[in-house]
Symmetry: C2
Subunit: 391 residues, 2 copies
């Protein structure tokens, strides 16, 4: 009997190259990169024996002239392995890539990649502070679902990402909902991947800092069914500029999202149970949705918001802006939160918008950080905003 069975582990060992060749065609050399040390220094390694110059570009490096990404030279060592070691780094999530004799490439020894519009870069985490908040920890975990909802307003089925907090499935309680909107070039994958939404919420809720809540990440590009590669138009190169992203259509049809959520999830379907926030274009969407439906959201968050005019865009959504803001004020709300970086190119315009709110007498909480129009800041804003909700 036993001879019919054989010890396949030995075969795996003997034929491991075959297996690997068949199953995962291209293996890499056994190099550790990045190596993140306890003292928060990080070493990157890249094997390129014949290269003349290898550089590393990291999103923690100051940008050079004309906003060109900053970069540092790597040093060639034994076996053609180029290395670069940072000073101790503040705890955070970082992105980087290599440039080999002028060619940008990813790190073949790091499988952790995140797409941002049409760029894919490696990421790593330096633990200790923000890095811990962005990490998976031994805490109760929520569920992340990718599903499809019907949008009669757009005449299509559309993909949506929903986070439900730990315990949702077995609880009988109703939960409040944060609608969390992405920026230009993003989609329903942006907040969950780049934004670390599920890790941030799992950790804040476990620490007792945020209330258990559902987070709904919809796709703000109403011409799209879904993120690149996830819709029926197949594989293509994503672009920053998409039609119908800031022409009122998303705001007009946003109640399709709310209706779907409120009829498919156990939620507090009332103003005090609804928050809306977004980054850049998503901040613009949040501003306009919350005043176009001026008695719907008790919590509004504008992260590096693109404050937009209605001069060239014709939509009823952008008419009577002041009147609807005043109606929103009169109806009452619990939090109007504005966050932006000092170096953000939209800082001046957000300042003008704050002056407008001051003129109307609309109270808001203002959070100004270092840095610019970056995911580094948007993760911070979510981490600051979420604990203020539904209290």
């Amino acid at each position: 009997m036993k001879k019919l069975f054989f010890f396949v582990m030995a075969v795996f060992a003997m034929q491991s190259f075959d297996l690997f060749a068949q199953q995962a065609l291209w293996g890499g050399p056994q190099i550790v990169s990045p190596e993140v040390r306890d003292d928060k220094t990080v070493t990157f390694r890249f094997q390129a024996p014949n290269a003349k110059e290898v550089k590393i570009s990291g999103d923690w490096m100051p940008a050079g002239q004309d906003w060109k990404p900053g970069s540092e030279a790597m040093t060639k060592g034994e076996k053609g392995i180029w290395t670069y070691t940072t000073a101790a780094m503040p705890s955070d999530l970082y992105g980087y890539s290599f440039t080999v004799d002028g060619l940008k490439t990813t790190d073949p020894n790091n499988v952790y990649l995140i797409r941002d519009v049409a760029s894919v870069t490696n990421v790593f985490i330096v633990k200790g502070d923000k890095g811990d908040l962005y990490s998976v920890n031994k805490v109760p975990h929520g569920t992340v679902s990718r599903q499809w909802y019907n949008s009669p307003g757009n005449g299509m089925e559309r993909r949506i990402t929903v986070y439900t907090p730990a315990g949702y499935e077995t609880s009988k309680e109703k939960y409040p909902v944060l609608y969390l909107l992405h920026g230009m070039g993003g989609d329903e994958e942006a907040w969950i991947a780049l934004g670390r939404t599920s890790q941030i919420l799992d950790n804040l809720i476990a620490q007792g800092k945020a209330k258990p809540m559902i987070v709904v990440m919809s796709n703000g590009n109403v011409a799209q069914e879904a993120a690149p590669g996830e819709s029926s138009i197949g594989y293509y190169k994503p672009t920053m500029q998409l039609p119908n992203t800031m022409d009122g259509k998303f705001e007009e049809t946003f109640m399709d999202v709310v209706k779907f959520v409120e009829s498919n999830y156990r939620v507090k379907a009332e103003k005090s149970g609804r928050a809306i926030a977004g980054l850049s274009m998503g901040g613009y969407h949040s501003l306009h949705i919350s005043r176009y439906y001026p008695n719907t959201f008790d919590y509004v968050g504008l992260f590096s918001a693109a404050i937009i005019p209605n001069d060239k865009v014709k939509s009823k959504v952008y008419e009577n802006i002041d009147e609807t803001l005043k109606a929103q004020l009169k109806n009452g709300y619990k939090l109007y939160w504005i966050g932006i970086g000092k170096a953000d190119f939209l800082n001046k315009n957000v300042k003008e918008f704050r002056e407008k709110l001051d003129g109307i007498g609309m109270k808001y909480t203002y959070c100004e950080t270092e840095g610019g129009h970056t995911w580094t800041n948007w993760r911070v804003y979510l981490s600051e905003f979420a604990p203020l909700l539904f209290k």
Copy 2:
């Protein structure tokens, strides 16, 4: 009023480099690669003005000596852009990478990447037949959830991927369940990413070829909480060999998965509503789980199964193999399905196992395909197996 708002689109245009630099540090040149044409030829492009040699390796190319991945030279053209065009290709999902002067790299113009163990490669689809089955089409879509279940047998919370078919949320019916297991080096992300499970099921169900079913993709490495990057051990380089993958522990604790599913989903919690299938190590797991619990699954699928001995592995799971197989036969089952490639290194051993089943009188359906131990085959086996279930 309006002057407070300004036309940020203009700013986006004027400052588009700033924005892009801040938001997505590294853009690539505007090159289309791969270009998949209607005649099913595919052109790859890679800009490398200073490179001496650029090659492409594709999983459709015959492997060379010692199973080294096949490759083809690309041709240098204008602006330092190297190109390679295939002959018309059979419809399928394919993977590829470039090698530039000896350095393997991904295609910077293709954001579609899939990780297999520790290798990340670009993918593309040639439509028309299998490629259509693996594509997102305008059909009702199921929901894909990543969630966590408690495994008392392993003393930890573990991550799991669950596909529920379109209509599940609004239906009151009970659904059958396919437990779908990955191979060595895989995890709860393998079938949904490399296996195209949600696309295959969405399409087969929409065509009326498969019954609506839930598909549960658990993590077969019981030493792991979750896939690389998704667990509390953080970011690290994944390896093929993991402890406790084939020592009986997964089989022993598999009822933790079944209990979770049957108490959290609306399922047919009976033998006729349960199927179990897996690839390679997951085929081994399916073989042993189905005979260790010999009256639990009416449908069993072994895809390129690693048929394993119990000589060196001590576990009660691997005792009395013949007796439990005979009990399984006596208890009855509806389908025992075996698929393997002619060139698979496990083909001979699957043949020995089939002879063993013949000796016992256990009926099975046998599907022998071209090719080897590859995802190309495993996607085919899922596409063949799923329509046979729960009829």
